[in-house]
């Protein structure tokens, strides 16, 4: 069972991604910002993939990825950033922080599922 953790401060975005993933048979965990997500990770939630927004209150996505890499069992977990067309520099920052790749908003269902297959072996 592949679990995907979604981190985004937009409830709309969470809802849309969650419905795509749930329909495709993934288990989904959501968090409204990096802090909440870190909390879940520290409480033993162990996703096989994390998809996080970049711009969020409390803890931005890049800081979150950097922190999440240090969480138990998250050393080798694929992490993707949700970015917009204009956020080229953010992508590089994210990679330095430990992100595996990125998605460009708005995310089409096929694209999302394709990328998951690409970065999570056996997903």
């Amino acid at each position: 069972m592949t679990t995907v953790m979604l981190v985004d401060d937009s409830a709309t975005m969470l809802m849309s991604l969650k419905s795509i993933l749930t329909k495709a048979g993934y288990t989904v965990e959501t968090a409204g910002h990096g802090k909440e997500a870190m909390d879940k990770l520290s409480k033993g939630v162990k996703p096989n993939l994390i998809i996080s927004d970049v711009n969020m209150p409390q803890m931005d996505g890049i800081t979150f990825v950097r922190e999440a890499r240090k969480a138990p069992g998250m050393r080798f977990t694929p992490m993707l950033m949700l970015t917009t067309e204009s956020e080229q520099t953010k992508r590089n920052e994210a990679k330095t922080a430990g992100a595996t790749g990125w998605l460009v908003k708005p995310v089409a269902p096929d694209q999302l599922l394709g990328v998951i297959k690409q970065v999570v072996p056996g997903a």
């Binding site: 401060d9 937009s10 409830a11 709309t12 975005m13 809802m15 849309s16 419905s19 409480k43 033993g44 927004d53 711009n55 969020m56 209150p57 800081t63 950097r66 890499r69 050393r75 080798f76 977990t77 694929p78 992490m79 949700l82 917009t84 204009s86 990679k95 330095t96 922080a97 430990g98 992100a99 595996t100 790749g101 990125w102 908003k105 708005p106 690409q118 970065v119 072996p121």
Partner: protein, 788 residues
């Protein structure tokens, strides 16, 4: 309306007010980076979410606004009042559009031109609208560009290269060659290079780039990626760019036709700049790249050695091709060799020399510099002395919520430490025989106790917010929805200044919205119907909040058509929620309560307004999660009122401590009705269920030890201790071992292994240092039901 769109509209309203507020503040203080950031973030989120719907004008306009804000944020532009005007105008326009979307689910027809003129204005300071030339399209029109063969082509078997070149020439086709050199730390970004390679479409050939020298087994770091890949594929350039888009810096792709490969194999290609001077320069430039190059060079040399050894007599073009790659590799290593007129033996010796001479040991690898520590980003509470909009006479401090939460935690710990003193006092008397010391400790305790209580009250007070925060969204919501439904509704709010804990206020939002929508949609009649019924044409919805001791009561009342108990009963019966007998016997008030049953509200009554996939059962569940209760009263033809009773604060919970099988548990006091002791003989059994008769009422009794799967055999002679709790108006007895006192505790959510144990709602620390598990009665009861 589709739920996603409804969600977006609800979120959009918040975002719009954030943007407006932020922009106005920004105009006053254009230099505040936090403000710019906030506005940018709101605009950004807006754009992201709007892209989910087919509103291209909206996305384009928010995009333009976002770009302008981004330029301000990065300091490329400073915000002037002209830009602020344009931004405000843009978001006003959006607000208008969204109102239109709310009623028509599409943008107004004028959106295109109106948006475009603002986009032009917003893009003005950024140097106008960008011309959009797609370089890919241009490239595609020009046809594939044939690259020069790179020196790493030597990684492939020369014979295979020749065959392939011939084939490509005769079919005038091309092939893409990829060199993929992952960096050592790539596993720590969860990259798996081989997994990527396995996804290369139409892979024709795969070869390894092995490390210059494998480290000895005992020093081998299994998490450092030391290998790379060279591959040939018929996949299109675009497919490869897409596949490798996350690792562009680890990838080199060349497009080759038969001629290019032939020339390479024949050694006719003029040396690539990269192969000598440029390479050497690059080596000097970066140590990391040096390693990578050295790895390549080594791989090439190894390949050369292999082919020289294998083929015995290598000659002609094949030999000169090998010689060329050896020369290039040697140059890359900074040890140029002369291979102008090669023979097999010399070449073999040279390769062997190079391989032994130039060996970077792992120690050569520079430690990758640790990433710079992230800049501390402590939230800055700016002084507001310069803020002309501030209130005169009151100084308001804006404090991060987390700080208040932390304070609350500390108060909890203080309470625990304080309670420890009573145990110390007992010990002083019992163990050390000093009654005087014991009394003095108790005196100290009561002083400390008073201060701790006041401190707790003060902190709780800081967390209090007026109910007006929760009510503020309703005037607009009711206005919009009632117009849409063609109903006339007047909203009356009372007691908005009643205070409650911020967590309670926040959690109240969704249930309230649901109840108000329900009222508007189902409860309230059209004006015409109302007049027929002899009511005033304008309906009235009343939102009331009153404090009631430790609780706050919020009531939503309408003077609509009310609930018909007969209809509700009938519907519940049709859905199989009640038995035929209940259909006959249920009282009217019990019938109204049926709307809270899971599964009651379903498709046929889901409207585009209230039908958001949650029924009244969800409302009840979310209120109960807060430790509250929901009741509904309705009079047919007169109206319905729903009453939510919530604890004023969720921070401190009063629990009754009981013990079962030697273990103590907490039960929220508001569920407890009474404690009774009955002789064991008075426990009866009805239909496999233990019961006790209390004042003529038969109350089912659950053995708590059994429900929690704890071994315990009660002393048959002793009286039974039974705790009577009330859930949804139903009384249930819990058989326990012993009652203890009631305590105030700070409930902490479950962590670690127990995080998924639903039968507990949290833990609390007791004064004697013991951790108390607080039961989630709802789950415990359903556990007990399953156990039977």
């Amino acid at each position: 309306m589709n739920p996603l769109l409804a969600q977006f509209l609800a979120e959009a309203a918040d975002l719009l007010s954030q943007v407006d507020e932020g922009l106005l503040e920004l105009e006053r203080d254009p230099s505040d980076p936090e403000l710019v950031n906030e506005v940018f973030r709101a605009a950004h989120t807006f754009k992201g979410s709007s892209g989910l719907f087919d509103f291209p004008e909206l996305t384009r306009l928010t995009h333009a606004a976002e770009d302008l804000l981004d330029a301000v944020r990065s300091g490329k532009l400073s915000l002037d009042s002209g830009m602020t005007d344009d931004l405000l105008a843009a978001f006003d326009l959006i607000r208008g559009w969204l109102a239109h979307v709310t009623t028509h689910e599409r943008l107004p027809a004028t959106a295109g031109p109106a948006g475009q003129s603002l986009i032009v204005k917003l893009r003005g300071p950024l140097g106008g609208e960008q011309a959009t030339v797609n370089p890919d399209v241009a490239a595609a029109l020009a046809g594939p560009v044939i690259d020069r063969a790179p020196d790493w082509l030597a990684l492939f078997d020369p014979e295979w290269l020749e065959k392939t070149a011939t084939w490509l020439s005769s079919t005038s086709a091309t092939m893409r060659f990829v060199r993929f050199t992952p960096d050592q730390g790539c596993f720590f970004r969860a990259e798996d290079p081989l997994h990527l390679v396995s996804q290369v479409p139409a892979l024709a050939k795969l070869d390894l780039i092995q490390p210059f020298e494998w480290p000895p087994a005992e020093e081998y770091d299994e998490y450092a990626c030391l290998i790379g890949f060279a591959l040939a594929t018929r996949a299109a350039r675009g497919e490869l760019d897409y596949l490798f888009r996350y690792v562009p810096d680890q990838i080199e792709i060349v497009e080759l036709n038969g001629d290019a490969i032939h020339r390479y194999v024949a050694g006719e290609e003029p040396p690539q700049p990269r192969a000598d001077e440029a390479v050497v320069a690059a080596v000097a430039q970066s140590h990391t790249e040096n390693l990578e190059l050295a790895r390549d060079a080594h791989a090439i040399l190894a390949a050369a050695q292999r082919s020289l050894a294998l083929e015995g007599s290598v000659s002609g073009v094949r030999l000169s091709a090998v010689a060329r790659s050896v020369a290039a590799a040697a140059a890359a290593l900074g040890v140029p060799v002369d291979t102008a007129d090669p023979d097999v033996e010399t070449l073999k010796a040279q390769v062997a020399n190079l391989l032994t001479e130039v060996r970077p040991t792992p120690a050569d690898a520079p430690p990758t510099p640790p990433p710079p520590p992230p800049a501390e980003r402590a939230p800055v509470d700016r002084g507001r002395a310069d803020d002309p909009g501030g209130q005169v006479g009151t100084r308001i401090l804006k404090v991060d919520q987390e700080k208040v939460d932390h304070l609350m935690e500390l108060v909890g710990e203080l309470n625990v430490a304080k309670n420890g003193l009573t145990f110390l006092a007992d010990a002083a008397e019992e163990e050390f025989g000093s009654r005087v010391l014991s009394r003095r400790i108790k005196d100290q305790y009561s002083g400390l106790h008073r201060i701790a209580e006041e401190l707790q009250a003060a902190v709780m007070d800081v967390r209090m917010l007026p109910l007006s925060v929760a009510f503020s969204r309703f005037p607009r919501l009711i206005r919009d929805l009632s117009r849409r439904l063609g109903k006339t509704v007047e909203l009356v709010t009372e007691g908005e200044d009643t205070m409650a804990d911020k967590d309670v206020i926040e959690a109240l939002g969704d249930p309230l919205v649901h109840l108000v929508r329900n009222s508007l949609d189902h409860g309230i009649e059209t004006s015409a119907d109302r007049e027929v019924a002899g009511k005033p044409p304008a309906a009235r919805i009343t939102l009331t909040a009153v404090a009631d001791g430790d609780a706050v009561i919020v009531e939503i009342a309408d003077d609509g058509r009310g609930i018909d108990p007969a209809k509700v009963k009938h519907k519940a019966y049709e859905k199989g929620l009640i038995s035929e007998e209940e259909l006959e016997t249920l009282t009217d008030s019990d019938a109204v309560d049926l709307v809270f049953r899971p599964g009651f509200s379903t498709a046929d009554q889901v409207s585009d307004l209230s039908g958001r996939g949650v029924g009244m059962d969800a409302v009840r569940a979310s209120v109960e999660k807060l430790g509250g209760a929901v009741t509904m009263r309705s009079q047919l033809g007169r109206g319905t009122s729903t009453r939510l009773r919530l604890p004023l604060s969720m921070a401190v919970t009063q629990v009754m401590v009981v013990s079962v099988a030697g273990q103590r548990f907490g039960i929220p006091v508001d569920l407890v009705v009474e404690t009774v002791r009955v002789p064991s003989a008075e426990l009866g059994r009805v239909l496999h269920q233990d019961v006790v008769v209390l004042r003529g009422e038969v109350v089912p009794v659950i053995d708590l030890a059994r429900a929690l799967d704890m071994p315990w055999t009660p002393d048959p002679a002793a009286d039974r201790a039974i705790l009577i709790v009330s859930m949804h108006g139903q009384r249930v007895g819990l058989l326990v071992e012993q009652f203890h006192r009631e305590v105030d505790v700070i409930l902490k959510p479950m962590e670690g292994l127990l995080a998924y144990a639903d039968e507990f709602s949290g833990t609390a620390l007791l004064g004697d240092g013991l951790v108390l598990l607080v039961l989630n009665m709802k789950e415990v009861l359903s556990l007990a039901a399953r156990a039977q």
